[in-house]
């Protein structure tokens, strides 16, 4: 039923009006100053559209840049590059007066209802504040407007004079929503609005948001890490990883037939509320890389379960591959870890340091595994470089021997379905097998 809805939706979407157009948007932190080191690339060149009246979901692990992206769209963070066109105007170019005017149209609901409301103000004052800031009508009108808003979000007008601490988490989130509605915005960024709430309360807030969207024709950017919530509320979903959008397309389609390996892994990691569910899980190893030092090529290559392997090693045992990947993580970390002076001296004197345990790591990773001769000699070479504390050379050998297009080139966006769903992966380029095929084989 909902799938039918989604597909009929998608055909009409093409004719729909674009409300927000994002082109190659970049937000970097800490790139100023001579000693800042490389910047943190929180958002690293994303492009997408938000159509009027739709809910676009933005999902990803923590640290993938989804909140930064949401904040940049509202100009709460300065964009480093690219443009955000809102109804045709590029808001990254606006000066502060113009921005003040524009901001009436776009509002944000924050994740934590405990910290986003001022405990010293009454509920009425909190909701009235945006009206005061924009000097909306007369003070008496504003008070009436607040009472009306309280009712809209399912609270009672007499709550006007109460303080936030007198309310439960769900009610506080309602207050936050009332405040964002005060100026009748068109576009709302909802930053994890339900993650801090219990399931049953969460369901109430989701219903409220859906009702409000219908009533006021709102457009939502819904940021969340809970995929089941996203599946319920969103028309389209964008999956983010390390500052890049990995896949974007209609919700049902993306959930039932994901194209990108990352989407596959993310979906497979959600525990289903069904104990009889025996679907094989793709467990990603390690954690997302540091956005200050993103990997070259595809951002997901360090953890990708469907990574393209060099043809001669295509059939190498999965455990060996896992070992190689972990070895690379270890080397990268060691390269970046600072050596203290004491450690350098110990190193000079030939004493054991905390870095001189590569052999142990090797045993831990590859002990007891059958490694083909050609792979083994390369691994030994890597370990030898590493034990001489030359991580750079070790990594070079590793990349040369076991690397592929995934490490050397940034992928492009490939359209993967009729609805215009896009996926950011080398495997769609026609030369390689599709991710779903590979994943099925490997898992």
């Amino acid at each position: 039923m909902s799938q039918q809805l989604a597909s009929s939706d998608s055909t009409t979407r093409e004719k729909r009006e674009k409300l927000v157009e994002v082109r190659d948007l970049k937000t970097y932190y800490g790139d100023s100053g001579m000693f800042g080191g490389p910047p943190v690339k929180a958002v690293d060149g994303v492009s997408f559209n938000v159509f009027r009246g739709e809910t676009l979901g933005l999902v990803g692990e923590s640290g993938c840049g989804k909140t930064t992206l949401g904040r940049t769209l509202l100009q709460l963070e300065d964009a480093t590059g690219g443009e955000v066109r809102y109804d045709g105007t590029d808001i990254t170019e606006l000066n502060s007066d113009q921005l003040y005017e524009w901001r009436r149209n776009a509002q944000m609901v924050f994740q934590d209802p405990d910290s986003s409301l001022n405990d010293r103000m009454t509920v009425g004052e909190i909701i009235r504040e945006p009206l005061d800031v924009y000097e909306w009508e007369t003070p008496a009108d504003r008070r009436d407007r607040v009472r009306e808003l309280l009712e809209t979000v399912g609270l009672r007008p007499e709550h006007y004079f109460r303080y936030p601490h007198q309310f439960s988490g769900g009610q506080r989130q309602r207050i936050g929503i009332a405040r964002t509605l005060a100026l009748e915005p068109d576009f709302m960024v909802l930053d994890e609005p339900v993650s801090a709430l219990d399931v049953s309360v969460q369901a109430e807030i989701i219903n409220l948001l859906e009702d409000l969207q219908e009533e006021f024709g709102l457009t939502y950017l819904f940021i969340a890490h809970d995929l089941s919530v996203v599946r319920h509320i969103c028309d389209r979903v964008a999956v983010m990883y390390l500052g890049n959008i990995m896949e974007i397309g209609p919700t049902e389609e993306l959930f039932t037939d994901p194209a990108n390996p990352y989407t596959h892994s993310l979906l497979s990691a959600i525990p289903a509320p069904d104990p009889t569910d025996t679907a094989e899980r793709i467990t990603l190893h390690g954690t997302p890389p540091n956005p200050r030092y993103p990997p070259s090529g595809c951002p997901f290559n360090t953890r990708c379960p469907a990574r393209i392997r060099p043809p001669e090693y295509e059939h190498l045992d999965d455990e060996v591959w896992q070992g190689i990947n972990t070895l690379r993580d270890v080397l990268l970390e060691r390269k970046r870890a600072d050596r203290s002076i004491r450690e350098r001296i110990r190193e000079r004197l030939g004493r054991q340091t905390r870095f001189a345990t590569v052999e142990e790591t090797y045993d831990e990773l590859f002990g007891g595994l059958q490694i083909p001769a050609n792979a083994e000699s390369s691994i030994e070479q890597i370990v030898e470089h590493a034990s001489n504390n030359d991580e750079e050379a070790a990594l070079d050998v590793l990349t040369e021997e076991f690397g592929s297009i995934c490490e050397s080139e940034k992928p492009e966006y490939h359209t993967v379905s009729e609805t215009g769903r896009k996926s950011f992966c080398h495997r769609h380029d026609g030369e390689h097998r599709q991710p779903s095929q590979v994943l099925e084989e490997r898992y």
Binding site: V199, V201, E210, A272, D329
Partner: protein, 452 residues
């Protein structure tokens, strides 16, 4: 009918690793008494994962903290509560080291008659106080373990090791017995907490000390509980970190918590909890603060640890998906009480209590309808002992009797399923008035109506 088959004495039948009976924990404030945990009973076997699920404020964490002995003033575990730790090796060890705190029930049984003792208890007690069906099933063990022996001069306040069966006089001859966790204090408490029962908390950042290296903190546990120090402790710490899947453990052991990522920190916390080789691991929302992909890693790790070490796990979470994945048995908690208890398959296939049903239905993505179903209202804060069903004000199926009769657990599943729910709608096949009577009698006093 009962939650376990009742033998001559509770400890002769197949014993779980830990047996929680009628646990009541209350917080005494100037304004009111909050009964955060109000009569919770559950048991956990070795190698088994028992899930505890409920909304915030339902008493999940307080249950865990009561077992760990971490309830602080103004909180108190009330008289009548009993948490029995049955692992034989530990009982022998305790009987050996703390012989002055050991109660030999094999001797006492000849001297006292439980029924006569019951009459001497000052406060009002019912069969339910001891987790029993009928008054004549109450044993001496029940009375003493629940702490009523103190006022009668049979036990001392700090007695905590109860021996129920033995073949000879030495501690090694004990064949059955338990340690009453609610009566532990001082050194005995410290040996149990961390040593036999480990705990993993929700937020890995707050459960690690930022000014000590991770290795240091693991070594502290090793030092306290296993008497390891120096090189030996470091080696063990590295091995533990490896066991929980931290690569390059030799280097990591000297790093500080802030140098670890969220998932790694939780792994380190698990390594700390495992350092003393506990028999029972209590996980209080261990994955709530983590991303799904990391959560999957941690759940996999816990399953692997359980398989290797055959430990019992109590897993607290509010995520029904996680519960379905990890647990063998599930306890659904609401306002301080367990309202439904079942193995994981029956619970998800056939939820009986209206609250469980509501909870399962409010998960987005599991229903086809446009709107999500919700449970109106909030979890109440229980301030008095229950004389009604605490869920009644929010229950879509509530009727008049729900407000005056406190439901007791009745069998709701297939024969031998051990699926129970505390709701006046059951036993289903009875007409309403008889159903209500079953519950009324079960809670008011001993004799209960014919079995379901």
């Amino acid at each position: 009918m009962s939650m376990e088959t009742v033998g001559q004495d509770s400890d002769t039948d197949e014993t779980p690793l830990i047996d929680v009976r009628n646990l009541q924990t209350a917080f005494f404030t100037e304004k009111e008494t909050i009964r955060a945990v109000d009569g919770v009973s559950m048991d956990i076997d070795s190698g088994e994962t028992v899930g505890v699920v409920g909304e915030s404020g339902s008493g999940k964490s307080v249950t865990a903290r009561s077992i760990m002995g971490l309830v602080e003033a103004p909180g108190k575990v009330l008289e009548g509560s009993s948490i029995r730790f049955h692992q034989l090796e530990t009982v022998r060890d305790y009987a050996d080291r703390f012989s002055g705190h050991t109660v030999d029930l094999t001797e006492l049984r000849g001297e006292h008659d439980p029924q006569e003792l019951l009459g001497r208890i000052q406060t009002e007690v019912t069969a339910e106080t001891f987790g029993r069906e009928r008054r004549d099933e109450i044993t001496l063990t029940d009375i003493l373990a629940a702490g009523f022996g103190d006022e009668m001069g049979i036990t001392d306040e700090d007695d905590c090791v109860f021996v129920t069966e033995r073949n000879g006089d030495s501690p090694q001859d004990i064949t059955a017995g338990f340690i009453e966790v609610t009566r532990l204090d001082g050194e005995r408490q410290r040996q149990m907490r961390g040593g036999r029962i480990g705990m993993v908390f929700q937020d890995p950042l707050t459960s690690l000390n930022p000014v000590f290296t991770v290795g240091n903190q693991i070594k502290e546990a090793l030092n306290l509980h296993r008497d390891l120090s120096g090189e030996e402790a470091t080696r063990e710490a590295v091995e533990l970190l490896e066991a929980v899947g931290i690569p390059d453990a030799g280097r990591r052991v000297n790093e500080y918590p802030h140098q670890f990522s969220g998932g790694m920190r939780q792994r380190a916390v698990i390594a700390m909890a495992l350092a003393c080789e506990p028999e029972l691991l209590i996980c209080d929302e261990p994955t709530t603060a983590l991303d799904v992909t990391i959560q999957a890693q941690i759940l996999e790790l816990l399953a692997q640890i359980q398989e290797e070490r055959d430990i019992g796990i109590m897993f607290i979470t509010h995520d029904m998906g996680v519960i379905a994945e990890v647990s063998d048995k599930v306890n659904v908690m609401y306002a301080g009480e367990v309202i439904e208890q079942a193995d994981v398959y029956s619970l998800f296939e056939n939820p009986k209590h209206p609250y469980t049903r509501g909870l399962l239905r409010s998960i987005p993505g599991t229903q086809s309808g446009e709107r999500l179903e919700t449970i109106e209202g909030n979890v109440p804060t229980p301030t008095e002992s229950a004389s009604d069903c605490r869920f009644a004000p929010r229950c879509p199926e509530a009727f008049d009797a729900c407000e005056v009769v406190h439901p007791s657990h009745v069998e709701v599943g297939e024969e031998g399923d051990d699926h129970t729910a505390a709701c006046l709608l059951y036993p289903e096949e009875m007409p309403e008035t008889r159903r209500v009577n079953v519950h009324r009698e079960a809670t008011s006093d001993d004799r209960r109506g014919d079995s379901a």
